[in-house]
Amino acid sequence: MTPIAGGVALNLALGCSVLSIISLIAYNRTLDYRLFLAGQRLGLAISFFVFIATFILGYQLFISNFDIDYVARYTSFETPNIFKISALWAGQSGSLLFWLFILSIFNTITIIQNQDRHLNLMPWVIITMSVIQLFFLILTNFITNPFEPTQADFVVQNGNGLNPLLQNITMAIHPPTLYLGYVGFSVPFAFAFSALVNKDIGALWIRSIRRWTLVSWLFLSIGIILGGWWAYQELGWGGYWAWDPVENASFMPWLTATAFLHSIIVQEKKDMLRVWNMVLIILTFSLCIFGTFLTRSGVMSSVHSFTESSLGPVFLSFVFIILISSFGLMFSRLTVLKSPRKIESVSSRESGFLFNNLIFVVMCFAVFWGTLFPVITEWFNGDKISVGPPFFNQINIPIGLVLLALTGIGPMLAWKGTSNDKLIQNFSLPIIFGFIAAFIFALLKFTAYTVISFSLCIFVVVAISSEFIKGVRVRKNKFNESVFISLYKMIEKNRSRYGGYIVHLGIVLMFVGFTGHAFDKEKEFGIQVGQSESVASYNFQLTRMHEEERPNHYAWITDLRVTDASGNFITNLHPEKRVYFHKNPDINKRQPHSELDIHSTINKDIYSIFSSVSSDNRTAFVKIMINPLVKWVWVGGYILAFGTIIALWPRKD
């Protein structure tokens, strides 16, 4: 019974979205206010029915109703409750419903928040959002319905269950966080589209979406970082980023969104770059949909037939519709969009922002190019050539370093133009520090890129700190406050600016972490109790290996004693080899899993993986990796989130 209710709720939502769009279009023609109210309420009704459908599916997963195909495929009786709920976004149809669910939350907030604001923009904002909902409703109603029943001729005893790899709390949080980011950009996009339709192009619509954009950007960033963190902790290849198409799918909108975040400042302050901002938000939103397409359709990840899906063409056509309609509309508004003001000087902050934007977009193009390289080469000469991480690294490292440099340069430029005296005054200290650092790192015989990257990090840190020190000094002298109070008040008075600088500091720390990758060492070997093996300057001794049977798996556990070159004890590592469903008579249903162990310190991680055990249970085969500075990436991530929250914090007035 209830599964049917879920399907009906989706039908009703679909109907409401069509009606909402029709009445709002009618309102635009007749200006009969009742039609606007009808459209607005129908807009809320779409979301209401989507909420109902989502809660029904969530509940069915929770009570393990295996009459629903989706429930039977992604959960089983043994699945812990929390992962029964997270199974909501484990599979295709559920994750599309979940996308829709988040979209509906955002739409509801937007509609309620703007009941008596932006009245000229709202009709088209609601239309745009309803069209996006309509698209996902078509998918979940007709193409991949999450309430599809299991075949009627047999009873499912127990479901398939969730992969143990995914039974991890980070993995439960990572997809929804990314989705919040992806979906969040539909709100700024809807406002931009509406601004275009209404020829209301000034700085006003920008102001109304600044916060939405920042929130979505924060979620997208956290989602990406969590994904890397999960891969590092769980997957056991010792890295956090592999330039996999699905990772790239989330990175591309992040790049354009970051560009957008910067360039809307210019429009807010100077009313310039109007066309450019339109381009960026349209690109960002299209890339979000394109990203969902890459993730869900299985076109890229793969050989001939990894996850086949009928969704590909539908998604692709939606991306094309978005691109054609928005860019078409934008070109027809080009005369209105033209900004009355122009950038005056190369050394102005405006031009700094412009260059930062340019580099972000080009980097996005580079990632796009690499991701679609197999498709492109196949078009050209019939050969499908796929590119791996070395390709992406080679292209993106120099581009990334330019961006890093701009992180320091941009904030030191003044609006309109910076005088030569000011340039010397602002830049001399960071440049001097940067060069000293470069000299020292070169003496240490680091590679060229490593030297450049580390010294740019120093350059940016000195540049940002001097901005802070300057500001604090001015306040201190003016109001006679203590250092901490003036620091606090300075940040409080100008949250978006100093929040932004803190984000920059986070990015610098992450770059330090990325650069540490250049010093990675690894070794794979077999080892018996009592033997030892050395990796880099560390010694690993296997002191014990034992077996243990636990509630849902069987485990082999090693005790690895780690000492440094001079024999000092560092830590004991206990990587495990587990077999889940070890009692399943079908050997192929048993699921091996390597539970790795990491000793993480601020300057390096010692990463251990227990890959297999010999049949006589005496030799353990392990892989050890020494990964310097990885922790800086995570710490940088925290600081990035902290800075964004400062920039987001509402003002008192």
């Binding site: 039977a72 005893q157 249903k589």
Partner: protein, 142 residues
């Protein structure tokens, strides 16, 4: 926009686009690119360049060396074409009989020496629910 900024933008843009094009033609790392082909066409052409192949691990074909567990041989099956593969690094957990895999490496004298082995990232257990329903819950509980 003033001419200076415009020419700077054009300059930066063309340098980076040139760079992307250049790297695409001459990647510095030989592992940067691999040609995706079918097992059948590899066997027909016996190419020794770096290739990427997809297929299924033939049931019962996995042989792990007695002395070094990292050293492993198996038969990759794609359609009716079969190819012996050697891989001697840590194997992913999902690597087993019948698993869908992608291998990257080089073909030398009748054997494919793989240096990368990826298994399909399964978000769940694939399989027929009909068969699945055969196993009993009690068997799993301890």
């Amino acid at each position: 926009m003033n001419i200076k900024i415009f020419s700077l933008i054009a300059g930066v843009l063309s340098i980076i686009l040139f760079w992307i094009g250049w790297v695409s033609m001459n990647p510095s790392d030989e592992k940067a690119m691999a040609r995706f082909i079918s097992v059948e066409s590899l066997l027909n052409n016996e190419t020794s360049s770096r290739t990427k192949l997809g297929g299924i691990v033939k049931k019962g074909s996995i042989r792990v060396s007695k002395t070094n567990q990292l050293d492993c041989f198996f038969v990759l099956k794609e359609g009716s074409a079969e190819l012996a593969v050697n891989y001697s690094k840590t194997r992913p957990d999902l690597f087993k009989d019948g698993a869908e895999v992608i291998v990257t490496g080089q073909y030398r004298n009748g054997i494919f020496l793989a240096d990368e082995l990826q298994t399909k990232c399964a978000s769940r257990y694939e399989g027929d629910l009909r068969k699945e329903s055969n196993y009993k819950l009690e068997e799993l509980e301890t």
